[in-house]
């Protein structure tokens, strides 16, 4: 028990901070309830998915600056293809877009491995490439999303045979996120592949000498990030109903949330739960400040300050733990 607590101290700290913030929100705005939770979850969803993708790559010792641009590509592809299709056609489109995302990520990874150019430079260059691709597909926001997709993330959960009052408080956005995590990340984490991600992240040379194919593992990590980016792009299309060719502000937020969530830049440490909690904390702080009628620009200052201070605190914490 003690061991579990010390091993997950950062995540548990984040979780208690999130609960504290939720209580604060309720105190500030006594009306805050099911619908507030729902809109919070919906606003946080694309950020959370971008952060998941970033976290996987950072754990594997890389960084992907092209993540938001890949979200734009997948978002416009989905919206363009879905225009005028049936429900069944839309389901096919979703599968195709997910495959597309994984391919885009795999292209990033392959380029990094074959050119031997540092991750940050390759993905910086690919940021332009994917941005351009998104603009070629759709020059201005447009397209449409199938209504059933939209219904997937809007509102509370209702299950058959269970009274709605029991489950309605839980936003579908959160369930969507948890399902994604369970379907994509859990199998990877539990298998050899997940261990290999952590291994190449903490020491590529040691990983290579223990018989891990570092290159293909890295490509797999980037492909996983691409898959999360595709889900993020779909989430954008689902919540707005259109495709958005200009990448949103997801890149910086995802880096911030990954670091806040306890994943060290440089790789090999941390999990995916922490970054998700961090995304919700950042969104909730923003919401609280809006509720308090604080100037939205001051909110940006506070967000930056939180990020820097927490990372400083974390760095001091980590150095003390090691010595």
């Amino acid at each position: 028990m003690i061991r579990f607590l010390t091993q997950n101290s950062w995540t548990l700290g984040l979780a208690s901070l999130l609960i504290l913030l939720l209580i604060t929100t309720k105190l500030i705005q006594p009306d805050f309830g099911v619908s507030g939770l729902d809109s919070l979850a919906r606003a946080a969803l694309p950020y959370a998915l971008a952060t998941l993708g970033m976290a996987v790559v950072v754990i594997a010792g890389g960084i992907d600056l092209s993540l938001a641009a890949m979200m734009a590509v997948t978002s416009v592809t989905a919206a363009t293809l879905m225009q005028g299709t049936t429900d069944g056609g839309a389901a096919l489109v979703v599968l195709a877009v997910l495959a597309l995302g994984a391919t885009l990520g795999a292209i990033n990874g392959t380029l990094i491995v074959t050119t031997r150019v540092p991750d940050i430079v390759v993905t910086l260059a690919m940021l332009y490439v994917w941005q351009g691709t998104a603009l070629l597909i759709l020059n201005a926001p447009g397209g449409s999303a199938a209504p059933w997709l939209r219904a997937l993330i809007v509102g509370g959960v209702t299950l058959p045979y269970i009274p709605p009052a029991l489950t309605e408080w839980l936003p579908k956005g959160v369930v969507f996120l948890l399902l994604t995590l369970a379907i994509i990340w859990l199998p990877i984490r539990r298998s050899k592949l997940g261990l290999m991600f952590y291994a190449i992240g903490s020491d590529p040379l040691a990983a290579f000498r223990s018989g891990i194919a570092v290159g293909p593992t890295k490509i797999a990590a980037y492909a996983t990030a691409g898959l999360f980016a595709a889900l993020g792009g779909l989430a954008v299309t689902m919540s707005t109903g259109i495709g958005e060719p200009i990448p949103g502000p997801y890149l910086l937020t995802s880096v911030a949330a990954v670091v806040l969530g306890g994943v060290t830049l440089g790789g090999g440490r941390g999990g995916l739960i922490g970054p998700i909690l961090a995304v919700f904390i950042l969104r909730l702080v923003r919401m609280d400040l809006t509720l308090l009628n604080v100037d939205p620009n001051i909110t940006t200052i506070i967000e930056g300050a939180i990020m820097v201070v927490v990372v400083m605190f974390g760095a001091v914490f980590a150095t003390r733990g090691r010595s």
Partner: protein, 315 residues
């Protein structure tokens, strides 16, 4: 052939300059007559702010860091100077503008040197905070109007003997950076920290003060770049120098500075900035859709860096 390759590997500037001339040649082929003194002067004019901002990236990358706040700091200095000039006069406005840049640099330095935050995160955080401050500040000065000091316009857009006046600032600046990087103890410390931080520490170097000075310097350089760019663009906006942010990293990287530190230098960065500027003209000339232009831009950055790494690794 092997001798030529070895020469290129030992002098990484040579292939870069060859590439620059190849690009200019291709441009001349695309549109005969375009390469004339007027075009050269224009290209230099736009390459100068990029090369100056890329100095921030080059110096910080030598130690294995990066300064992602450079574009924001440049914008803030430019905006503050332009908005304060009608209120309190040029000298005071300049002082306040540049002290904003210095403050941002010092905050970066504090976080990286004392609290040991990763430079990427620290400068990103500073950029976020600073951008927020700029937006708040903007609401208080919106009514007072803006004025750009005359000498900045002269520096940014003027021309003497067919050459842009910006060179009057850039040539001494570049000489100073090159001298600092090669001939001073500070410059050598940057390379030393970048190649092996532990060895440098064991050799008795205290890394804190070096980082502190480096990021403060980077902030000031970004501020000066902002002022020059203000004179060039002549319309202060809240996102003035932000489009230069990522290209400045690209210029340093194309110029052969390793993002992991210890290798490269400012001479390559200057050529890198020229290559990027020529490339931008070329892509505009080709009259492709905006999307295709961005794709080509990204692919060329990637190709040049990959080629460069292959070439220098063999030597």
């Amino acid at each position: 052939m092997t001798a030529a390759l070895r020469l290129m590997a030992q002098n990484p500037l040579i292939p870069l300059i060859i590439l620059l001339f190849l690009l200019i040649g291709a441009l001349e082929l695309l549109q005969p007559g375009i390469v004339n003194p007027r075009w050269i002067s224009n290209t230099l004019k736009f390459a100068i702010p990029l090369a100056m901002l890329a100095a921030c990236q080059t110096l910080t990358m030598l130690t294995g860091g990066i300064d992602l706040s450079a574009g924001t700091v440049a914008t803030i200095t430019a905006f503050v100077t332009a908005t304060l000039t009608p209120l309190i006069g040029v000298p005071l406005a300049l002082t306040i503008g540049l002290s904003c840049a210095l403050t941002a640099g010092l905050i970066n330095g504090f976080g990286i040197a004392v609290a040991r935050v990763h430079p990427l995160i620290m400068t990103l955080g500073t950029a976020l905070i600073a951008n927020g401050c700029l937006l708040v500040y903007q609401r208080y000065v919106i009514a007072s109007g803006t004025k750009i000091p005359d000498f900045l316009v002269w520096l940014g857009t003027g021309r003497t003997l067919g050459l842009p006046n910006g060179l009057a600032l850039f040539v001494p600046f570049a000489a100073l950076i090159l001298w600092t990087q090669q001939r001073t103890g500070f410059g050598r410390l940057l390379y030393a920290i970048g190649s092996n931080e532990n060895a440098t520490r064991l050799a008795g170097v205290r890394r804190g003060p070096v980082h502190f000075a480096l990021y403060a310097l980077s902030g000031v350089i970004a501020g000066i770049t902002g002022l020059l760019y203000l004179g060039l663009v002549k319309t202060p906006s809240l996102s003035l120098a932000l489009p230069l942010d990522l290209p400045s990293v690209a210029a340093a990287v194309i110029g052969g500075t390793s993002i992991f530190g210890g290798r490269g230098g400012y001479a390559g960065t200057i050529v890198g900035a020229l290559i990027l500027t020529v490339l931008a003209t070329m892509l505009t000339l080709l009259q492709m859709p905006e999307g295709a232009r961005r794709i080509l831009f990204g692919l060329i950055i990637l190709a040049v860096t990959a080629l460069y790494i292959r070439l220098t690794e063999k030597g």
